[in-house]
């Protein structure tokens, strides 16, 4: 039951470069920590984040354990047309989460 916060401007001019912010709730367990008795805590991270704009991929991040818990990304994309920005996070143990936001481009 992932919890995500995405921020995309509601409207933009055609050709304008817009800033997108995404934040998702996830512990990003590194796999390097040990319990008090020395047992290794298994890795459990988000490995991939993809942003598509009306179906076309516009940004991708390949994550490793050194990305902090509750992964946060700010990136940009060109406002080409009205439509939907879709976000997908996938990772260990079958983790999968999606979020989307619409934008009106005039």
């Amino acid at each position: 039951m992932a919890n995500a916060l995405v921020n995309v401007p509601a409207r933009a001019r055609r050709g304008e470069i817009i800033e997108v912010k995404t934040l998702i709730s996830h512990p990003m367990e590194t796999g390097y920590r040990r319990t008090q008795l020395g047992a290794r805590i298994p890795r459990d991270i988000i490995r991939l984040f993809v942003c598509t704009y009306n179906g076309t991929e516009v940004f991708r991040a390949e994550l490793h354990p050194a990305i902090a818990a509750n992964p946060f990304f700010v990136f940009s994309t060109v406002a080409t047309e009205s439509g939907t920005l879709a976000f997908q996070w996938t990772g260990d143990n079958g983790f999968s989460a999606t979020e989307s936001a619409t934008i009106t481009v005039e």
Partner: protein
């Protein structure tokens, strides 16, 4: 001369009621939130609602607020409506006196009382994701408002206990809270700046925890830090200390969800 005595008496009783100024107590005008001791980057993390990791909990709390629960099948929203209106100012006055229990309770305990009494739902565990989310959501509605806990004849004894705990040397390091937070705030300990310990941003996203936590969790960390015996979550000693800390921070603005190292 006789005209002045009643004023003196009145002044003395006000001081006695609120508590005399102890040596080393931070003057009201010099009080600063932990926010002021943060690096520029961490401040930016707190300031931006679209980037503040604590906001994830606030979002979740908003969803829980609207969800029907318990044998009564009631949501918080069913009684309290829009939290932005009904919960405004609430977190700023907690811990508050509970007439049934005859002692102060903190916000987490108040939420669980509501769950038991109104929703016929089991209490949420301390530091559970749901309780933190709900507490963060409620406290967020007081953001920007001044802390204002009620100190009167009922809460005064508990405030006194909390104050005594703050100034008492304890633990293997024989340290009192005041020695760091009244006498040495602004100086560095283990590379980090010692704040004045005002609970302005709770529940807080602590970078060390990589998650949100309550004031009680932070106090327990402090007790571990000075190698003193800790208290269980919900213990009266912790609530009394919370009450004292909130009183000590009276007038300072709530920042929930705060971000701290």
């Amino acid at each position: 001369m006789s005209g002045r005595a009643p004023h003196l008496l009145a002044a003395f009783s006000v001081i006695a009621l609120a508590g005399a100024t102890f040596a080393g107590e931070i003057p009201m005008t010099e009080r600063r939130s932990g926010y002021d001791f943060l690096s520029r980057e961490t401040r930016a993390m707190q300031d931006d609602d679209t980037a503040n990791p604590g906001m994830l909990a606030v979002l979740e709390g908003g969803a829980l607020w609207a969800r029907k629960t318990g044998a009564a099948g009631r949501a918080c929203a069913d009684c309290h409506g829009d939290a932005g209106a009904s919960m405004k100012g609430v977190a700023a006055r907690y811990p508050a006196f509970d007439a049934t229990l005859k002692r102060p309770v903190n916000l987490e305990q108040r939420i669980n009382r509501c769950r038991a009494d109104r929703q016929q739902a089991p209490p949420l565990a301390y530091e559970s994701r749901e309780l933190l989310a709900l507490t963060a959501y409620v406290a967020r509605q007081s953001r920007g408002l001044p802390i204002d806990v009620a100190i009167d004849a009922r809460t005064q004894p508990f405030l006194d206990n909390g104050r005594a705990a703050f100034y008492r040397r304890q633990g293997q390091l024989n340290l009192a809270c005041s020695q760091c937070h009244d006498d040495n705030w602004g100086r560095r300990l283990a590379g980090n700046v010692i704040p004045q310990a005002h609970p302005t941003g709770y529940p807080v996203y602590r970078l060390e925890w990589q998650g949100l936590g309550s004031l009680q969790r932070r106090l327990r960390n402090c007790l571990v830090g000075i190698r003193a015996e800790s208290h269980e979550y919900g213990a009266p000693e912790l609530v009394e200390l919370e009450l004292f800390l909130m009183w000590r921070a009276r007038g300072m603005a709530i920042e929930t969800p705060g971000v701290r190292p």
